[in-house]
C-alpha cells in the first residue's frame, strides 16, 4: 500500500508538468522507437526471406552465377549454361534427383487492351516437377516446346485472372514484349517459390526465353533437387565437382558459381541481420543516452523546484529512502511513459515504411516490446539516481527555508 501511494505521488508530481515531462522523454521515445521499428523490420524481413526459402524446400540447392577475381577485382561472371543442367542430371547418380535450369527476366504481357508487367521465367518441364507446381487448366511446358523453342506460354494464376478474368485463356494469343505467344495453360494459385511470386509470373520454354526473347547464352540460376536431405552436403559437393569440370576450372581457381541451400541461406541471413541489428541498436543506444540525460536534467530541475516540499516531507516523517524512491520512481515512470510512446511510434513508423516500400515486412515480437519497455525503465531509473540522491540528502532545515 505504501509503495502504491509513493507511485501515486510520483504520478501526481509528473502530471503537474506534463508537457515538460513529455519533452524530457523525446530521447527515450526516439531510442525506443528506433529499436522497435528496426527490430520489426529486421524480424519481418528475415521472416519473409526465410518463408521464401522455405517454399523452395530443404532438399534443394539453388545455384547462381558467381564472381571471379579478375585483375584483383571481383567481377560478376555468367557461367551457368543449359548444358550444365543436363550434365548434372546425367552424372548426379543417386545424389541428384532432378535439375531445373531457369532464366528469369521481366516484361509486359498484353491481351487486347489489357496488359500487365510480369516476371518471365524460362523453364523446362523439370521446374513443375521439382516444385510440385501444377497447371489448373491446359498443360505445362513440354520437352518438345523446349526443343523447338515454341512460342507458348503458361500463365501464373494472378496474370490469367487480370488478363482473362473468368474466361478460358488456353489457346488464346497474347503478346509478350511485342512477340506473339499462344497460351498453353494456367497454373494453380501458389504464392511464392524460391523468391519468385509465381502467381504474377509467366512461364515460357527455356530455349525460347534465352534465344528468342532475351538473347542470352547463360542461365540465371539452376535448381538442383537432391535425392536425400540427409546427404545434402554430399549432394552439394557432387554439384560443385560436376560444375567445376563443366566450366573447366583448375585446382586453384575459385568457383564461378554460388550454391545456396536453405540452411546456408538462413545462416547468411542471420549474419546480415546481426550487422543491421548492431547498427540499429547503436543508434538506439545513443538516443537512449541522450534521453537519459534529458530525464536527469528534468529531475534535477524538479528536485530544485520542490526543495521545500522535500523539507516538509522529511519534517512529517519521510525517511531519506522514501524521498529517494519517490524521485527514482518519477524518473522511471517518465522514461517508461516515453518508452510506451516510443513503442507506438516505432510500430507506426515500421508500418508506414512497410506500406511505402511494399517490400519491407513488419513483425514485432511481444518480447521486443517488453525488452524496449524494460530498457526505458532502466534508463529512467539510472538517470534518476543522481537527482534522487540529491533530493534525499537535502538538509530539511535548509530545504524548509529554501526560497
Amino acid at each position: 500500500m505504501f509503495y502504491l501511494r509513493i507511485i501515486w505521488m510520483a504520478l501526481r508530481g509528473l502530471r503537474t508538468n506534463l508537457m515538460r515531462s513529455m519533452l524530457a522523454t523525446i530521447g527515450v521515445i526516439i531510442g525506443v522507437g528506433a529499436v522497435v521499428s528496426a527490430v520489426s523490420i529486421l524480424q519481418g524481413s528475415e521472416k519473409y526471406f526465410l518463408d521464401q526459402f522455405e517454399s523452395l524446400g530443404a532438399d534443394k540447392i539453388m545455384v547462381f552465377n558467381g564472381q571471379q577475381q579478375r585483375g584483383g577485382r571481383a567481377m560478376a561472371v555468367n557461367s551457368l549454361k543449359p548444358e550444365d543442367a543436363q550434365v548434372l542430371a546425367d552424372e548426379g547418380g543417386d545424389l541428384i534427383k532432378a535439375v531445373a535450369p531457369q532464366y528469369t527476366g521481366g516484361g509486359q504481357i498484353k491481351y487486347f487492351r489489357k496488359n500487365a508487367y510480369v516476371s518471365i521465367l524460362g523453364a523446362t518441364p523439370g521446374y513443375a516437377e521439382i516444385n510440385d507446381y501444377k497447371p489448373v487448366r491446359g498443360s505445362f511446358i513440354t520437352r518438345e516446346d523446349v526443343r523447338s523453342s515454341a512460342m507458348v506460354v503458361v500463365l501464373g494464376h494472378k496474370v490469367a485472372r487480370e488478363l482473362f478474368g473468368a474466361l478460358p485463356a488456353e489457346g488464346k494469343s497474347v503478346k509478350i514484349n511485342g512477340k506473339s505467344f499462344t497460351v498453353a495453360g494456367v497454373m494453380e494459385e501458389r504464392g511464392t517459390i524460391g523468391f519468385l511470386e509465381v502467381d504474377n509470373q509467366i512461364i515460357i520454354p527455356l530455349s525460347t526465353a534465352m534465344d528468342r526473347m532475351f538473347g542470352s547464352k547463360y542461365l540465371t540460376s539452376l535448381i538442383v533437387q537432391c535425392a536425400d536431405t540427409q546427404k545434402l552436403d554430399a549432394c552439394i559437393e557432387r554439384t560443385k565437382i560436376i560444375l567445376r569440370q563443366e566450366h573447366n576450372l583448375k585446382a586453384g581457381d575459385e568457383d564461378d558459381f554460388i550454391t545456396l541451400t536453405q540452411e546456408q541461406f538462413k545462416r547468411q541471413l542471420k549474419q546480415v541481420a546481426i550487422i543491421f541489428a548492431v547498427v540499429f541498436y547503436s543508434i538506439a543506444g545513443i538516443s537512449m543516452v541522450v534521453g537519459g540525460i534529458g530525464i536527469m536534467n528534468i529531475m534535477m530541475v524538479s528536485v530544485t523546484e520542490r526543495t521545500r516540499e522535500i523539507g516538509v516531507r522529511i519534517a512529517v516523517g519521510a525517511r531519506r529512502i522514501d524521498i529517494l524512491l519517490q524521485f527514482l520512481l518519477e524518473a522511471g515512470i517518465i522514461s517508461l511513459f516515453g518508452g510506451a510512446l516510443g513503442v507506438a511510434c516505432g510500430m507506426a513508423m515500421g508500418d508506414l515504411l512497410s506500406k511505402i516500400t511494399q517490400v519491407l515486412q513488419l513483425y514485432t515480437p511481444a518480447t521486443t516490446i517488453i525488452y524496449a519497455l524494460v530498457m526505458a525503465l532502466v534508463v529512467g531509473i539510472i538517470s534518476g539516481i543522481y537527482p534522487a540522491i540529491r533530493a534525499s540528502n537535502l538538509d530539511p532545515v535548509m530545504a524548509l527555508r529554501y526560497e
Binding site: 500500500m1 505504501f2 501511494r5 509513493i6 505521488m9 501526481r12 508530481g13 502530471r15 503537474t16 523546484e305 520542490r306 521545500r308 516540499e309 523539507g311 516538509v312 516531507r313 522529511i314 519534517a315 512529517v316 516523517g317 519521510a318 525517511r319 531519506r320 522514501d322 538538509d395 530539511p396 532545515v397 524548509l400
Partner: protein, 294 residues
Amino acid sequence: MSQESANTHPILQAAQLRKEYRMGESVVHALDGVDIAIGAGEFVSITGSSGSGKSTLMHILGCLDRPTSGMLAFKGTLVSRMSDRQLANLRNKNIGFVFQTFNLINRTSAIENVMVPLIYTRKSFSRSIALEALDKVGLKNRAKHTPGELSGGECQRVAIARAIVNSPEVILADEPTGNLDTRTGTSIMETFRSLHESGITIVLVTHEMDVAVQANRMIHMKDGKIVEDLRVDDEYRNYVLQAAQSTQHELLRAKDRMEKAGQKHRVGSGEPGGSTMEPGVVIDEITPDRGGMD
C-alpha cells in the same frame, strides 16, 4: 524556569544545547548552552529578535536538526542516540510542525496535503482520518480545494490539520501567524489554544508579543541563550494585550490626524519627498504570502 514546568513530566528536555555554524573564518553560535524542559501539556512560546536562535532551538527540539553538542531527550529517551529512521518515525508519530509559510503542496488538494504524514506511517489508512483533522480546524467543506483556492488563514488551518493528523503529543509552530493579518492570526491562535486544551503540548516560536502571551509560559532568547523563562498569568497577559491595543489605537489616531490634515500617506514611495508618515509608523496591509509549493 517557571514552577509549573518544573513540576510536570518533561516531554522535551535539553541540556547545554549548542549549535555552531561556520561562516568562513568565524563561528556563529546559534545556540550557546541552552537548558530547557517542556512538560507534557504545556503551551510554551519562544520569543526573541531575529538571529536570537529561537528557530534553531525549535528545529533541534523537533528533531529536524542535530545540536553540535548537548543533550536532548524526548520523553526520557535520548534523541542523539537515535538513528535517522527512528528520528523520522518520531517526527511522524509524535511531533507536528506548523510553518510561517504554510509549506503546503500546491498541486494537491487540502485533504491530500493533510494525508502526507499518514503516508509515512506505512500503514493503510482511510481518508476519513484526514477529513476528521480538517473538521477539527473547521475546513471539512474545503477538503477538495487546492491551496491556491484557499485564503492564507485557511492554508494555515490545513497546515495545522496536517500537523495533528497523526495525533502527535507535541506541535512545534514557527511564526504561525507571521504571514497572516491580525484577525486571521487571532483565529489561528484560538485553534492552537483549543488544541492545547485537548492535551497537546504546543511550542510556538514568535516575535509578536501579543501572540507570545497567549501561551502559558514564555521563553525569551537572545544571542543563542535563554534570558527569560516566565509563567504567563492572566494579569500579565491582559496587561500586554491592552498595551498592544493601546499602541494600535494610538497608531490609528495618528493616521486619522494625518488624513484630516489632508496629507496622503505613502508607505515606501519612491517618489521625491518619500513617505509623509512619521518615522517608525507603519500602516500597511499585510498581504499573506501563501508560501506554497508546486
